[in-house]
Symmetry: C2
Subunit: 534 residues, 2 copies
């Protein structure tokens, strides 16, 4: 879904510890109101954490004079680069125990400076953590361990330019540090768009999307950023990898596909030629309600296996529909959206609604929303979608344990997988906290051969034990996913939090190849240590 922002290169202050802008966070009264809905939470919100209250050691290294102008040791900047934005990260900050604060933060302005920083770090045993928007929810941007002399957070956001546009071929060369709104603002005058709109759109970068194989706007077809890559520039300690700009190639294994998903462990993605879209001129959306979740799954599968190709095809289970305001009667809600730059999409929406109704769906008056408002349930869901991470932080301040995780599996496994997650995660939460948990599910992306369920868990915690409680719950969730052969992540990445599960999922010969590639490209083992390989 498109995030809206009127001022993408904003001077609005970003929270160092929580999601997004400080002026958008829930206030104390909102926190308390939310907490009242979750039995067992605190009576009053935890205070906003302050950098001044942290004990931050002086940097263990100093940058070389030639790079000093792009490196800072400012405590607030260092604190803001100590972690991502998972619940684990937010609650650790709220409890005054954030992750390891990096010694230095660098803001390179070009690939040459990235290479110089890697050279410097490699010679001194300094760990380098590539950092885009810092929105990782899997521990992808923090240092754990003590094998390095110091830690440098490598913030790419000063590299945020669209460098070239090929209008006829619909592609652009874009620096990796561009945040979503920053790159879209540069493409808009050309009538083009990347149309990659993760929930983190405002607070994540192209490079981060590429390094983590982010899931984006399209619920069907080309769901991941991977498919929009023409070529990559990646700075590795062993040299700069620049692939050719090609629409397709069959020359050996794809070089780009090795770096897509490498999460900063093999190199720093510094720019990419990306495939763009014409801005859609025709849109239509609708929502359909189902009394029965299983029949709704069948409807979604039928739509995914048609050639209708909805841009949005999200199935909200009753709890998710209730939470987002899309339904209040226990219905399962399917949110459908179609779009095209070339012609009306009403027929495609009608076709999808026919399939939905054939499986027991009701409602769903098609709303062509080229100019006008969208279907009310669609609008409600969109607004809630973008607001969710702020609400998550508000609940965290009330001592709640609240987090999401996502996966993907083939259709044959989906019903039992979802049921097992609901049952076993709720049981684990009850055991860990003594409170009943909310466990909701939506399908964010659907395929002819399977779907990507996305789960939200909320339960009151116990003061000071929130991290352990979440880790216990997540361990059960990971075990359920593993038993059902559902991937540890569809688009949130592996980071450090999913590492053990990833190791179990990954074929061992591929692990051998990846470790060998790591040795070859990062011989001093400085790049994002602990991610993907040891």
């Amino acid at each position: 879904m498109p995030a809206t922002t009127s001022d993408p290169r904003s001077t609005r202050l970003r929270s160092w510890w929580g999601w997004g802008y400080t002026d958008a966070r829930t206030d104390d009264a909102e926190c308390a109101a939310m907490g009242s809905l979750l039995p067992g939470t605190l009576a009053a919100p935890l205070p906003i954490p302050r950098v001044a209250d942290l004990s931050i050691a002086p940097p263990a290294v100093t940058p070389p004079p030639s790079l000093a102008h792009i490196v800072t040791a400012d405590p607030r900047v260092r604190a803001a680069h100590s972690m991502g934005k998972a619940y684990r990260d937010v609650i650790r900050a709220l409890r005054g125990r954030p992750g390891r604060i990096p010694d230095l933060v660098a803001h390179p302005t070009g690939s040459r400076e990235v290479a110089d920083l890697l050279d410097w770090a490699g010679g001194r045993g300094v760990a380098v953590i590539p950092f885009g928007g810092g929105s990782s929810v899997v521990g992808g941007v923090e240092y754990r361990g003590d094998a390095h002399r110091a830690v440098l957070s490598l913030d790419l956001t000063a590299m945020d330019r669209v460098l070239e546009i090929d209008t006829a071929g619909r592609a652009a060369r874009i620096q990796a540090g561009a945040l979503g709104p920053v790159l879209e603002d540069q493409l808009r005058p050309h009538g083009l768009t990347l149309r990659h709109f993760p929930q983190s759109f405002e607070f994540s970068t192209l490079g981060g999307w590429l390094a983590t194989r982010a899931g984006g706007h399209y619920a069907t077809g080309r769901t991941h950023i991977d498919d929009f890559v023409q070529s990559l520039e990646v700075v590795t300690p062993a040299g700069v990898s620049t692939s050719w700009r090609l629409p397709a190639s069959g020359a050996g294994p794809s070089p780009d596909r090795l770096f897509l998903g490498s999460e900063g462990a093999l190199g720093v993605i510094t720019e990419a030629w990306m495939r763009l879209q014409e801005r859609p001129r025709h849109k239509a959306s609708a929502s359909v309600a189902f009394a029965d979740f299983q029949r709704a799954l069948d409807a979604v599968r039928a739509i995914a296996q048609s050639d209708l190709a909805p841009a949005n095809c999200r199935l909200l289970d009753p709890g998710e529909a209730l939470f987002s305001g899309a339904a209040h009667d226990g219905s399962t809600v399917l949110v459908l959206g179609f779009e095209s730059a070339t012609g009306p999409v009403d027929d495609r929406l009608a076709g999808a609604l026919d399939l939905a109704r054939a499986h027991g769906g009701h409602g769903g008056a098609a709303t062509a929303n080229r100019e006008g408002p969208a279907d009310a349930a669609v609008s409600a869901w969109r607004t809630a979608f973008l607001r969710m991470p702020y609400l998550r932080d508000g609940l965290a301040r009330m001592g709640a344990v609240v987090e999401t995780f996502e996966t993907a599996a083939t259709w044959d496994r989906i019903p039992t997988l979802i049921e097992a997650v609901r049952t076993e995660v709720a049981a684990a939460a009850l055991k860990a906290t003594g409170h009943r948990a909310t466990v909701n599910c939506r399908l964010t992306h659907v395929y002819p051969d399977g779907a990507a369920p996305y789960f939200t868990v909320a339960v009151a915690g116990r003061p000071g034990e929130e991290v352990r409680i979440w880790d216990d719950i997540k361990a059960v969730a990971n075990d359920v996913l593993h038993r059902h052969r559902a991937t540890i992540t569809h688009h949130h990445a592996v980071g450090r939090d999913h590492r053990a599960a990833y190791d179990r999922q990954r074929p061992e010969p591929f692990a051998l190849a990846l470790r060998a590639a790591k040795d070859a490209l990062d011989p001093h083992r400085i790049l994002n240590p602990g991610v993907l390989v040891d």
Copy 2:
């Protein structure tokens, strides 16, 4: 395009030296007739080469008793596994100088036997050349060099079963040695199809397609076999890699994408879960003629950038249209085809025809061919398409140098690239032979951001110098591609013939990673030596 075969597990005899079935090859009179169209060719065809005329040394190794029943030293089988089916291979056989004859040919019946063969070979310095249908046109299945004690051709075609079908999820687990018609015959009773129809369909295998990132049926969208892979089983000398069966995943770099395109150098692909299609019930096709090639390119780009998604969208330049019988008046011809399992496609065809006409196209009465015959130009082109390799062999017997090569590039480079190939390859052919060459071009696959041109070259050779002549011409072609940053291959693979060009194209850090992966997975360096890495 679907190849038709009434008896896929045929007892018809395959040619050991040329394309396809021996009973389908051109006879001497046809050869002579074709040769008469190409000035400077021989007065009479070269004789069909005979295995009995080759001097084949006895095998330098003997298989272990436990594997002897799946290994043969039969001279005809060994000769048939000595090379692929490039022009280079055919003419070498015709001139009595085929590639290195492998010492042994194995026909394993399962993954365990593949692993056992690799173990045996690894301990003895025996090179192992994985071999599917043997249709490589890039020197992908022959041994060159002398660093190994012996050579084993590993023929996978005894592993040709569809092992499991998930009808609801539209996927099947298929052994890698299944030839196109063999696997389609097993899917047909379930109403499903892989719909991967390369020109080599009858004579190539799933494993070969996967190992070479083959281009298939769809001219737009998912053009390569890569996108239809759910999971792979790959037997490497370091162990068996089995990825999870998933509709999508963001867990690290894709394990499957490392093995897709690995051309037998990292492991032997033994089976795959593949995404299938419902058989299309609605089809429509048409052809459009253009007086101007550049305007035809613009039309194709407009269609590729629409959301019409034709299954077939092939642009034949005037020479190609003439040769295939699609046009005889110097027109450029666009062959369009649409298909769907769920609904009529006439509107989409009409939309594409509108775009074609807006760019100067004429003709193109839409023909819904659900039951009836296709547009005449479409039919002519299809028939010619499947017949072409046989004609190529006939021309080779007349001493002609006749071969194809293909590439892909972004739209901004396409017009000058095609013109440069035409001009420089024709000049190189003239210089090498003293004769004027035919250089035709078609676009086989098109993308929003570029296209895949496919070139055919034909010129009279000089007796006994055909290989050198072709190598000289191809060196010029490769140089043109490199200067225009067009990939050395869109879907024919790298093999040994493209290796030097591939090395220039590939980013060096990726080469480092690939060499490291090779060392880790194939420590004895027995797998398809010389392919991808040294």
